[in-house]
Point group: C2
Chain length 415, copies 2
């Protein structure tokens, strides 16, 4: 299996060198060919997907997981549209990030260049297969796609179609390759192919991400665990606070930018806690609260530190009344995964204090945590949301899939 | 030892939170206090250093290593000046990297914020102690300094003085801490203190860097191995080429941006090879060449692939005649450590081809490899030269020691 992964990575490096020198117009043509081919050959994708769904059903997989696995013609059409959207974005490669002429006359430019070979290790959803292939190709890098075994046939169908389309436009098909999920070890070999793979991005649950972070010798960008907080300040507009809490918790529960924890300043606790508990419960949410929340409503479940540390991804929320904004900040610093926090306040000082005090990829002031998203922030495409501080933090678009080179031009300069 | 490292990291986190909220004027005051104190207390640094030198000498350490370890009043004054130079640089924290108002009225800003806690694992030179402390402090991060045991007393003296000076200005002394080098395991605990340490930067030889890259669970920026090439193209001005080769190889041999390998296009081989071999040999350089170089001069030693892969850091150079610029690029892609390559050419097409074809942190066109340096490129300070693609590539200054946060402001925005 190691040989198989390494030889795929070597083919990817060769293909990446060609791709790095490919003009935008030719990359966009390949992307459009990929999108068209996915639509044209939808039937074969759905046939492969039906086998994956059948196997998962027979294995007693939960309905929500099967929901994410199951494809239909609309979903395939959405993949294709996503790829066309990537084609429409500017090419990040060649952007001059900074440049100047130095005192000695040397001309220095920092230029965006492709990363090289990117490994994706991900679970479940086959849409990641199409998205990642499109984003990496546009950013000039080859991609090695190691999806989960449960989606292996769907992924294989999607990847075969994309490879064929790329090849027809004259680019090397090996810019997109599937790494077999037959054997668990393939992901280990991928994340340890140092020197062959430039970057590994895990997307999936906490267990997957932890394993990649601990075992990888290739540089990793950690993504996606979101234990996001909404803090309702003493100076909050309580109607606004209610709307933001409800949206952040209930608009979509299975995503990393959904709220998982509610902090309420004691000054507004009497007015806000009963109201928000009732609204949450009416929406089917179980509130796991501190004593102040438990006192407010008999159906609130007593929260433990485990609750405060949990990314529920379900109709559950932990909740606590805090003495001060500093206690709210301290709570967030203790329990947050560093994804997104929101403050609801009319006070400029409170907004500034909270923004500076928490240490997360994104801070929302009077807005829902759900806005931490590449599309919402105008990046056009997103390969994941980084919760680490190195390289990229927050939603990652095309630019985050590149690196830079310094090009320094002289006329015989020596030191 | 693990407890000791973790408790230092916890103290660093607390100190870092204070430092993150500290204004530039107060950070600069602390830096000036550090610089003044190092000069005032030079005698105690030199006394500690004398003990380190004595121990190293007794252990039979090589003279070049002892040279790097040995301090005098001028070197200490240079540390102090380096710190004052950092104080004079703009504060990277708070810089707005991008910002816009989204179609729905949300105002989005990407703001530079401190990294948090940075671990430095380094060998030999005590100047890294002062440089790293100053750069991290200015960038708003606490630093954990794990130097080599051979410099432990010198480092302890420097760190004690800097901590005292920082504390006098009212900042927490724990923004600068020494990690004991008494036990080898302390560096392992530092690089595995995930969640407590945000970034580890190794500086030293290939063995150290390899160990950190393989064992660290904290994100790492790899630094400094430089197997740098000079390629003399068919269209090179040969006088310029000779000057650049000699400068890149001999101006300073022990540094990562020195040239280690010379590639010459066959079209100019007859005119250039004998000339460059003679000049190199006159400067005391041993040339490890391919058959073409060996034929040109009896004193050229036959080169192996190991030579082409070696960062000599000495008066040695590997050398080869290539059939074409593409062969030069292929050679560089095979053997380079991705630090710096130089091309000497009058051809725009060749310059563009080489620049796009190699895959290194810096490419010099008609300039010496020695210019890949933070000070030379106008960054003002440098904590190392990254040879990885993630986060920072090339010389790293203050901005590279920070991360960013998205601050998104609405007036009750929900999805």
């Amino acid at each position: 299996m190691k040989d198989q992964v390494h030889s795929a990575a070597r083919r990817a490096r060769i293909a990446a060198a060609t791709l790095a020198a490919t003009k935008r117009v030719d990359k966009d043509a390949a992307l459009h060919a990929m999108a068209d081919a996915l639509v044209d050959r939808t039937a074969s994708i759905l046939a492969a997907n039906a086998l994956d769904v059948e196997t998962a059903t027979a294995a007693g997989t939960g309905e929500n997981v099967i929901d994410r696995l199951r494809l239909d013609a609309d979903r395939v059409a959405a993949f294709a549209q996503g790829i066309r959207d990537v084609a429409a974005l500017p090419d990040p490669v060649g952007e001059i990030v900074r440049g100047s002429t130095l005192p000695n006359g040397l001309r220095m430019q920092q230029v965006r260049v492709p990363m090289g070979v990117i490994g994706m290790i991900y679970e479940g959803r086959p849409n990641v297969t199409a998205d990642a292939a499109a984003i990496c190709l546009k950013a000039g890098s080859a991609v090695l796609l190691r999806g989960s075994s449960s989606a292996a046939r769907s992924n294989a169908a999607i990847i075969d179609i994309m490879r064929d389309a790329v090849a027809v436009t004259g680019l090397p098909a090996d810019v997109i390759q599937q790494i077999s999920a037959d054997d668990r070890s393939s992901s280990t070999h991928l994340m340890q192919a140092r020197g062959l793979v430039d970057l590994v991005i895990p997307r999936g649950g906490a267990g997957l991400i932890q394993a990649v972070v601990e075992q990888s010798t290739v540089p990793v960008i950690e993504t996606g665990i979101g234990n996001c907080h909404v803090y309702v300040d003493a100076d909050a507009d309580l109607d606004m606070a209610l709307a933001i809490v409800m949206n952040a918790k209930t608009q979509r529960t299975s995503v990393c930018n959904a709220a998982e924890s509610l902090l309420v300043h004691k000054a507004v606790a009497d007015a806000f806690v009963p109201r928000v508990v009732r609204a949450l419960q009416d929406a089917g949410v179980t509130v796991h609260g501190d004593p102040a929340f438990c006192d407010a409503d008999a159906d609130v479940v007593a929260a433990t530190d485990d609750d405060y540390a949990t990314e529920y991804l379900s109709l559950d929320i932990s909740a606590r009344v805090v003495e001060s904004i500093d206690e709210a900040i301290a709570h967030v610093r203790t329990f947050s995964s560093g994804h997104t926090e929101a403050i609801v306040t009319s006070s400029l000082a409170a907004a500034q204090r909270f923004t500076a005090g928490v240490d997360s990829a994104a801070v929302m002031v009077n807005a829902s945590t759900r806005f931490t998203d590449g599309a919402e922030l105008g990046f056009g495409a997103e390969i994941g949301i980084s919760t680490q501080k190195l390289h990229a933090r927050g939603p990652m678009g095309l630019a985050e899939m590149t690196t830079t080179t310094y090009v320094v031009t002289g006329d015989g300069h020596v030191r």
